[in-house]
Symmetry: C2
Subunit: 326 residues, 2 copies
């Protein structure tokens, strides 16, 4: 199989380095504690996918300036803010193999540093001097919080439908990818047609990315995942593989699956059985298919751009989103 | 004594009614739960001081449009967002006589609805179409989160100085009052001189307001306060009356005060003794003096405006901030 990561990295090495520097340079807190907590979540091996997509998407829209890296930090700061708040919401213990911030510094500090990162992201967005940038960012933030609340409201709900799942992942994840790409078009003073193309790319990437992420919970071990196996399920988070399999299963298997899902202290043995049932009823395959569909759609929306190295990287990253192992 | 509240209310009745309607009309969540939680904090008898100051301040700067009430909601939404997050941080049980939101809906929902309110505030700020409005709002939000973190970091620190206290209350409280008034000048297309005047009014009002608020913890009973007596102290929050008295007390009394402060389960008897010591060493009087100084300063900055009903209300509100009983 192609090692996409090895193909992509050299193509974006310079961008990633500059994003990394911008992330450290633009945090600007006046308290060391804020640097420490924000640094814990920001510099823990994140993929920088959101800022990278903004930078590449701006480039494919013809952006020639040198503020793209600074502006791109908005999306990593917003992302980090939601991670800080989500870890508290989810009650998870590990993130990227490290203890979550709230377990080290307490819930209060995690909440407030999240607020700071949110505000930092907005300040940087405001520095673009473009009103439509700020409107998109504010809308994205509203949507993300409501997506998380929606997910929380439906925690443990065995009747969650595929449509509702799609609404949730759009709001909580895809909206930020879409926003990053849409804003890149504003920054680049791109045409409406180009804006639509890159936004579509971002939206579809975001949907596929979340589905791929949700799949990892059923396909990886703790070490590769950097968090507990079965964590989604333990939090009562029903994702597409489970939703689909529950719908397709016969009465008997559905009851077996429900029993495992509703038992928060399920054993590894139970979890393995659940995965077998997800496979038996096509939950894994269906989720892969749906994610793949969005990836193909993402690549298709780029058709309006002529061939370039940037276009190739965006296509590779789309493929990688599907194949990634962490 | 003058009943300022009775004098002020008829003068701002129409504004308050319109602010109330705007607050309900501009929330716009797609989930009922968000309305419920946001409504719990938003419609619980808040004084609407921040939006009201924005509206009056815009008016004194000559604003003639009819969007001031809508824009003013930004400041109540931001304020409500910080209340939701702060109640979690403080671990308080009551707010305005009602159970805090996180005790009803859980920490997660409270955090996420806070995020939503923050984002809503920003969206409404963005709708002004004025970049400088958004820059101020983003800066205010950064400052407020850092002020809260600063306070949290210094929880229970008996060596907190007056200067550090001032820095904290500026960041966590005064900055929002100042921002509301500054922005009103932008909305009104006011002169730099007018902007400076109303910002100064807001800043000084905010400082005095927080000091008066901190005093209430040592001068009111639970029923009038709407929260537990001695709540600040139980949270390890050292405020000016205590900071000043600790500095002025003789060795013996300082030790007695410290013993009470460091005992989280102090009895009503201990608390009454502490208040006696605060009075003995002038902590209460000094705080009142400092607050009064800021109120006088707030009123003085309005001198550049010619006499008007609006100016009179702003002056009355300044006086009220000092005398209020809840």
């Amino acid at each position: 199989m192609r090692d996409l990561k090895r193909e992509i990295l050299p193509m974006v090495e310079k961008d990633l380095k500059e994003i990394e520097i911008a992330l450290a340079d633009n945090l600007n807190p006046y308290l060391d504690l804020v640097s420490d907590v924000a640094g814990h979540i920001l510099f823990a091996g994140g993929k920088r996918l959101r800022p990278l997509l903004m930078v590449l998407s701006a480039r494919i829209c013809g952006y020639k300036g040198n503020y793209d890296k600074v502006f791109s930090t908005t999306f990593e700061y917003l992302h980090a803010a939601t991670l800080l708040h989500d870890d508290l919401v989810d009650g998870s213990k590990l993130r990227r193999g490290k203890p979550v911030a709230n377990s080290i510094w307490g819930n209060s500090t995690a909440v407030l540093v999240g607020d700071f990162l949110l505000a930092r992201g907005l300040s940087i967005a405001a520095a673009t001097g473009k009103l439509k940038v700020i409107k998109v960012i504010a809308g994205v933030t509203e949507s993300m919080s409501q997506g998380e609340i929606h997910q929380l409201m439906r925690k443990g709900a065995l009747d969650l439908t595929e449509a509702e799942y799609m609404e949730i992942i759009w709001r909580k994840t895809a909206v930020l990818f879409e926003g990053a790409c849409r804003i890149s078009a504003f920054i680049a003073n791109a045409s409406k047609r180009e804006e639509k193309a890159v936004s579509g790319y971002g939206y579809n990437m975001g949907m596929a990315f979340q589905m791929a992420d949700d799949l990892l919970d059923y396909t990886l071990d703790t070490k590769a995942l950097g968090k507990e196996v079965g964590a989604d399920l333990k939090e009562g988070k029903l994702t597409l593989p489970v939703i689909y399999a529950l719908k397709e299963a016969d009465r008997n298997d559905r009851l077996r699956m429900k029993a495992i899902i509703q038992n928060k202290n399920f054993l590894v043995r139970d979890f393995k059985l659940l995965i077998k049932l997800l496979e038996k009823y096509g939950g894994i395959a269906y989720t892969k298919d749906r994610a793949k569909w969005h990836i193909e759609k993402a690549k298709k929306t780029l058709r309006i751009f002529k061939p370039s190295k940037t276009k190739k990287v965006l296509e590779y990253i789309a493929d990688y989103a599907l194949l990634r192992k962490a």
